[in-house]
Subunit: 208 residues, 2 copies
DNA sequence: GACGAGATCGGTGGGATTGTTG
DNA sequence: ACCAACAATCCCACCGATCTCG
């Protein structure tokens, strides 16, 4: 066995070409490159685990902060009205404000109890505000999963049950199978990389 | 960067497809698979500059071209973001600065809190700066462990739980299971043997 | 691949701390 | 016995995704 390095996007592309569950990198590449296998054994290493440790779960810490940004609450019509679909609620058509500062003050937004919905909306607005910065900040990722991608399949292939969701009015998809604490983390990391101020970042994270 | 394992013959086949001297595995595979590089390359300028994304109406221009991956867009009632295809693309190698002096001033680098990450990056750049000197300096070692080797297994066999890591864009692997102090030591010893000035060595060690 | 959301808890990686050696 | 240098155990914070609950 030999080891080679691949840039992340290339790796994801290759992974996404998996046809059979459990295929190795070699299997996939052989198919793509049309190179037939030689007849020899290939072993797969199994990782062993460590005894576990104490669990301190601090992913969800609540600190109430006031948003430092003073903005008008008036919802500004954005070019594209977005459709919020919920099984429970009645809200169907809403218009997202043009800036996050406004979004998090928006009445409809604040009334939402479903954090995934807020999560997606925040991302949508962040993209609208600055597509380029958003673009380059989407490389944030967890230990195994990637958080953003331009296709559902890319996210699916980097983890199991990631529950990808499309971000409205955006070429991006996000992972959704996370607790609220992690959703806040993702927003925090993303905004930090996009260059937002600490204060605004806090306010937005808090709003989920 | 991601690492994958390939069966030997497949590896040899891919290596044999090298067209330009010094091509990386990614370069070769991109050509063979017809996957273009994404332009992102976050070569964050050393001398600062993160636009504070407060202002909105900036142009929405998409420049990232994607691989053959199918992007499934959800039908939106209104005009979806337009993806402009670009032919231009160059960057494919590492996004690290070319010299340690720059590396330790780099914003992204300084923001990193994980010392292992910085450790690896420093080594990667040191190698890039002077592979030959680096080469001959890698013989430094501890009482039982060796610190550098060209393969993971070599390091594993010279100690228990050494947590070897591959140094990007380099044929080397390093030991990682050390406290920060020792990481500094290793850098210090290495750079000393490579002939760097005391001042620079200090600055770099300090930066971890 | 079809119920969705997300808290809970098992897993893992970082590296300070503690044990070991000359 | 003590000290400095080194090794690697082990605790903690972070991350993933299963599983509970509405």
């Amino acid at each position: 066995m030999k080891t080679i390095e691949l840039e992340d996007d290339l790796y994801r592309y290759i992974a996404s070409q998996t046809k059979d569950i459990g295929e190795s990198a070699s299997d996939i590449l052989r198919r793509l490159l049309d190179v037939s296998a030689n007849v020899s054994a290939d072993l797969t290493n199994v990782e062993e685990s460590q005894p576990h440790a104490v669990d301190t779960n601090s992913e969800t810490k609540q600190t109430v902060t006031k948003s430092p940004v003073v903005v008008e609450e008036e919802p500004t019509p954005v070019s594209a009205p977005i459709v919020v679909e919920t099984a429970v609620e009645v809200v169907s058509h809403s218009t997202l404000p043009a800036s996050i500062a406004k979004l998090i003050k928006n009445k409809k937004f604040k009334e939402t109890t479903v954090s995934v919905t807020k999560f997606i909306q925040i991302l949508s607005v962040l993209y609208a505000e600055n597509p380029k910065e958003f673009d380059s900040a989407t490389d944030i990722k967890g230990r195994k999963r990637i958080y953003f991608a331009k296709s559902e399949s890319e996210l699916l292939s980097a983890g199991s049950t990631t529950k990808p969701r499309h971000i409205e009015n955006t070429p991006y998809w996000v992972i959704t199978n996370t607790n609220t604490g992690r959703k806040r983390n993702i927003i925090t990391q993303l905004m930090a990389e996009m260059g937002y101020t600490h204060a605004l970042i806090d306010a937005v994270s808090q709003s989920i």
